[in-house]
Protein backbone atom coordinates (compact mmCIF):
# COMPACT_ATOMS: atom_id res chain seq x y z
CA UNK A 1 0.00 0.00 0.00
CA UNK A 2 1.12 3.54 -0.60
CA UNK A 3 0.30 6.69 1.26
CA UNK A 4 0.58 9.70 -0.99
CA UNK A 5 0.94 13.03 0.74
CA UNK A 6 0.46 16.11 -1.41
CA UNK A 7 1.99 19.49 -0.77
CA UNK A 8 1.07 22.35 -0.62
CA UNK A 9 -2.47 21.89 0.65
CA UNK A 10 -3.63 24.91 -1.34
CA UNK A 11 -2.18 26.93 -4.19
CA UNK A 12 -3.51 30.02 -5.97
CA UNK A 13 -1.85 31.34 -9.13
CA UNK A 14 -2.69 33.66 -11.99
CA UNK A 15 -3.96 32.19 -15.22
CA UNK A 16 -1.06 31.55 -17.56
CA UNK A 17 1.45 30.90 -14.79
CA UNK A 18 2.92 27.48 -14.01
CA UNK A 19 1.74 25.45 -11.03
CA UNK A 20 3.92 22.97 -9.17
CA UNK A 21 2.74 20.55 -6.52
CA UNK A 22 4.59 17.80 -4.74
CA UNK A 23 3.94 14.30 -3.49
CA UNK A 24 5.84 12.28 -0.90
CA UNK A 25 5.40 8.60 -0.17
CA UNK A 26 6.74 6.23 2.43
CA UNK A 27 7.77 2.92 0.89
CA UNK A 28 9.12 1.70 -2.45
CA UNK A 29 6.75 1.80 -5.39
CA UNK A 30 6.54 0.35 -8.88
CA UNK A 31 4.68 3.34 -10.23
CA UNK A 32 3.13 6.59 -9.09
CA UNK A 33 0.04 8.26 -10.46
CA UNK A 34 -1.55 11.67 -10.34
CA UNK A 35 -5.30 12.26 -10.37
CA UNK A 36 -7.42 15.38 -10.64
CA UNK A 37 -10.79 15.98 -9.01
CA UNK A 38 -13.05 18.77 -10.05
CA UNK A 39 -15.48 19.96 -7.40
CA UNK A 40 -18.20 17.43 -6.69
CA UNK A 41 -16.99 14.85 -9.18
CA UNK A 42 -14.99 11.63 -9.28
CA UNK A 43 -11.24 11.55 -9.76
CA UNK A 44 -9.73 11.50 -13.23
CA UNK A 45 -6.40 9.88 -13.99
CA UNK A 46 -3.81 12.33 -15.34
CA UNK A 47 -0.49 10.58 -15.68
CA UNK A 48 1.49 7.57 -14.48
CA UNK A 49 5.24 7.41 -14.00
CA UNK A 50 7.11 4.17 -13.41
CA UNK A 51 9.85 3.71 -10.85
CA UNK A 52 12.51 3.43 -13.56
CA UNK A 53 11.50 6.76 -15.09
CA UNK A 54 12.67 10.14 -13.88
CA UNK A 55 10.46 12.43 -15.92
CA UNK A 56 7.38 12.17 -18.08
CA UNK A 57 5.37 14.62 -20.15
CA UNK A 58 1.77 14.68 -21.26
CA UNK A 59 0.55 17.84 -22.94
CA UNK A 60 0.92 20.67 -20.40
CA UNK A 61 1.77 18.21 -17.63
CA UNK A 62 5.24 17.29 -16.52
CA UNK A 63 5.85 14.75 -13.78
CA UNK A 64 9.15 13.96 -12.11
CA UNK A 65 9.99 11.11 -9.80
CA UNK A 66 12.89 10.87 -7.35
CA UNK A 67 12.86 7.41 -5.84
CA UNK A 68 15.83 8.19 -3.58
CA UNK A 69 13.80 10.94 -1.91
CA UNK A 70 10.49 9.12 -2.31
CA UNK A 71 8.97 12.16 -3.91
CA UNK A 72 7.29 13.29 -7.10
CA UNK A 73 6.28 16.63 -8.52
CA UNK A 74 3.56 17.63 -10.94
CA UNK A 75 4.05 20.74 -13.04
CA UNK A 76 1.17 22.26 -14.97
CA UNK A 77 2.39 24.81 -17.49
CA UNK A 78 0.42 27.78 -18.85
CA UNK A 79 -2.41 27.23 -16.38
CA UNK A 80 -6.04 27.71 -17.37
CA UNK A 81 -9.22 28.30 -15.41
CA UNK A 82 -10.23 24.69 -16.12
CA UNK A 83 -7.19 23.50 -14.16
CA UNK A 84 -8.88 24.64 -10.95
CA UNK A 85 -9.29 21.37 -9.07
CA UNK A 86 -7.82 19.18 -6.37
CA UNK A 87 -4.85 17.01 -7.28
CA UNK A 88 -3.95 13.70 -5.65
CA UNK A 89 -1.07 11.23 -5.94
CA UNK A 90 -0.91 7.53 -5.15
CA UNK A 91 0.80 4.36 -6.29
CA UNK A 92 0.70 0.62 -6.86
CA UNK A 93 -2.11 -1.77 -6.00
CA UNK A 94 -3.91 -0.27 -3.05
CA UNK A 95 -3.82 3.38 -3.97
CA UNK A 96 -4.04 5.51 -0.85
CA UNK A 97 -4.43 9.23 -1.36
CA UNK A 98 -3.53 12.14 0.86
CA UNK A 99 -5.61 15.27 1.38
CA UNK A 100 -4.60 16.63 -2.01
CA UNK A 101 -3.49 19.99 -3.30
CA UNK A 102 -6.34 22.41 -4.02
CA UNK A 103 -5.29 24.48 -7.02
CA UNK A 104 -7.14 27.70 -7.80
CA UNK A 105 -6.44 29.55 -11.01
CA UNK A 106 -7.16 33.25 -10.75
CA UNK A 107 -8.47 35.11 -13.82
Amino acid sequence: SQQGEEDPQALSIQEGENATMNCSYKTSINNLQWYRQNSGRGLVHLILIRSNEREKHSGRLRVTLDTSKKSSSLLITASRAADTASYFCGGDDKIIFGKGTRLHILP
Partner: protein
Protein backbone atom coordinates in the same frame (compact mmCIF):
# COMPACT_ATOMS: atom_id res chain seq x y z
CA UNK B 1 -20.74 0.24 -20.03
CA UNK B 2 -18.59 3.13 -21.13
CA UNK B 3 -17.75 4.24 -17.61
CA UNK B 4 -18.14 3.35 -13.96
CA UNK B 5 -21.73 3.78 -12.87
CA UNK B 6 -22.77 4.34 -9.27
CA UNK B 7 -26.29 4.30 -7.90
CA UNK B 8 -27.93 6.03 -6.24
CA UNK B 9 -26.23 9.35 -6.87
CA UNK B 10 -27.80 10.69 -3.69
CA UNK B 11 -29.16 8.89 -0.67
CA UNK B 12 -30.67 10.45 2.41
CA UNK B 13 -31.42 8.14 5.29
CA UNK B 14 -32.10 8.23 8.99
CA UNK B 15 -29.69 7.21 11.67
CA UNK B 16 -29.88 3.49 12.33
CA UNK B 17 -31.12 2.51 8.88
CA UNK B 18 -29.49 0.08 6.43
CA UNK B 19 -28.06 1.35 3.15
CA UNK B 20 -26.79 -0.28 -0.03
CA UNK B 21 -24.68 1.49 -2.61
CA UNK B 22 -24.11 -0.08 -6.00
CA UNK B 23 -21.19 0.11 -8.40
CA UNK B 24 -21.17 -1.07 -12.03
CA UNK B 25 -17.55 -1.17 -13.20
CA UNK B 26 -16.25 -0.94 -16.72
CA UNK B 27 -16.85 -4.23 -18.49
CA UNK B 28 -13.82 -6.49 -18.24
CA UNK B 29 -12.16 -4.62 -15.40
CA UNK B 30 -11.07 -7.21 -12.86
CA UNK B 31 -10.23 -4.88 -9.97
CA UNK B 32 -12.79 -2.75 -8.15
CA UNK B 33 -12.19 -0.22 -5.39
CA UNK B 34 -14.34 1.59 -2.85
CA UNK B 35 -13.34 4.88 -1.26
CA UNK B 36 -15.22 7.40 0.81
CA UNK B 37 -14.58 11.10 0.82
CA UNK B 38 -15.63 13.70 3.35
CA UNK B 39 -15.75 17.39 2.54
CA UNK B 40 -12.28 18.87 2.15
CA UNK B 41 -10.55 15.53 2.55
CA UNK B 42 -8.92 13.11 0.15
CA UNK B 43 -10.55 9.80 -0.79
CA UNK B 44 -10.21 7.32 2.08
CA UNK B 45 -9.52 3.76 0.95
CA UNK B 46 -12.10 1.21 2.11
CA UNK B 47 -11.69 -2.04 0.18
CA UNK B 48 -10.61 -3.45 -3.13
CA UNK B 49 -11.58 -6.58 -5.02
CA UNK B 50 -9.65 -8.67 -7.48
CA UNK B 51 -12.35 -10.64 -9.24
CA UNK B 52 -14.90 -11.87 -6.71
CA UNK B 53 -12.67 -11.81 -3.67
CA UNK B 54 -11.70 -8.94 -1.43
CA UNK B 55 -7.95 -8.51 -1.92
CA UNK B 56 -7.72 -5.95 0.86
CA UNK B 57 -10.50 -4.80 3.19
CA UNK B 58 -8.30 -3.13 5.75
CA UNK B 59 -9.90 0.26 5.17
CA UNK B 60 -13.39 -0.73 6.26
CA UNK B 61 -13.89 1.33 9.44
CA UNK B 62 -15.86 -1.27 11.42
CA UNK B 63 -18.10 -4.30 11.07
CA UNK B 64 -21.10 -2.18 10.07
CA UNK B 65 -19.49 -1.90 6.64
CA UNK B 66 -19.44 -4.80 4.24
CA UNK B 67 -18.93 -5.11 0.48
CA UNK B 68 -19.58 -7.91 -1.99
CA UNK B 69 -18.84 -8.63 -5.60
CA UNK B 70 -20.43 -12.05 -6.15
CA UNK B 71 -19.90 -12.42 -9.90
CA UNK B 72 -16.76 -10.38 -10.28
CA UNK B 73 -18.55 -7.45 -11.86
CA UNK B 74 -21.12 -5.37 -9.97
CA UNK B 75 -20.29 -4.57 -6.35
CA UNK B 76 -22.49 -3.49 -3.47
CA UNK B 77 -21.29 -1.62 -0.42
CA UNK B 78 -23.56 -2.30 2.53
CA UNK B 79 -23.75 -0.15 5.64
CA UNK B 80 -25.73 -1.32 8.64
CA UNK B 81 -27.07 0.83 11.48
CA UNK B 82 -25.95 4.02 9.78
CA UNK B 83 -24.51 6.82 11.88
CA UNK B 84 -24.26 10.54 11.15
CA UNK B 85 -20.50 10.13 10.78
CA UNK B 86 -21.07 7.84 7.79
CA UNK B 87 -22.23 10.84 5.77
CA UNK B 88 -19.80 11.22 2.86
CA UNK B 89 -19.42 10.67 -0.85
CA UNK B 90 -18.70 7.02 -1.58
CA UNK B 91 -16.53 6.59 -4.66
CA UNK B 92 -16.09 3.45 -6.71
CA UNK B 93 -13.31 2.83 -9.21
CA UNK B 94 -12.32 -0.05 -11.46
CA UNK B 95 -9.16 -1.05 -13.29
CA UNK B 96 -7.97 -3.81 -15.56
CA UNK B 97 -5.38 -5.25 -13.23
CA UNK B 98 -4.03 -4.87 -9.73
CA UNK B 99 -0.42 -5.47 -10.71
CA UNK B 100 1.99 -3.11 -12.41
CA UNK B 101 0.33 -0.17 -14.07
CA UNK B 102 -3.03 0.04 -12.39
CA UNK B 103 -4.97 3.02 -13.64
CA UNK B 104 -8.27 3.66 -11.88
CA UNK B 105 -11.41 4.91 -13.56
CA UNK B 106 -13.74 6.48 -11.04
CA UNK B 107 -17.48 6.81 -10.95
CA UNK B 108 -19.20 10.06 -10.02
CA UNK B 109 -19.89 8.82 -6.51
CA UNK B 110 -22.88 8.23 -4.26
CA UNK B 111 -23.53 11.01 -1.77
CA UNK B 112 -24.84 9.57 1.50
CA UNK B 113 -26.45 11.81 4.07
CA UNK B 114 -27.43 10.33 7.42
CA UNK B 115 -29.83 12.49 9.38
Amino acid sequence: GAGVSQTPSNKVTEKGKYVELRCDPISGHTALYWYRQSLGQGPEFLIYFQGTGAADDSGLPNDRFFAVRPEGSVSTLKIQRTERGDSAVYLCASSQTTGGANVLTFGAGSRLTVL
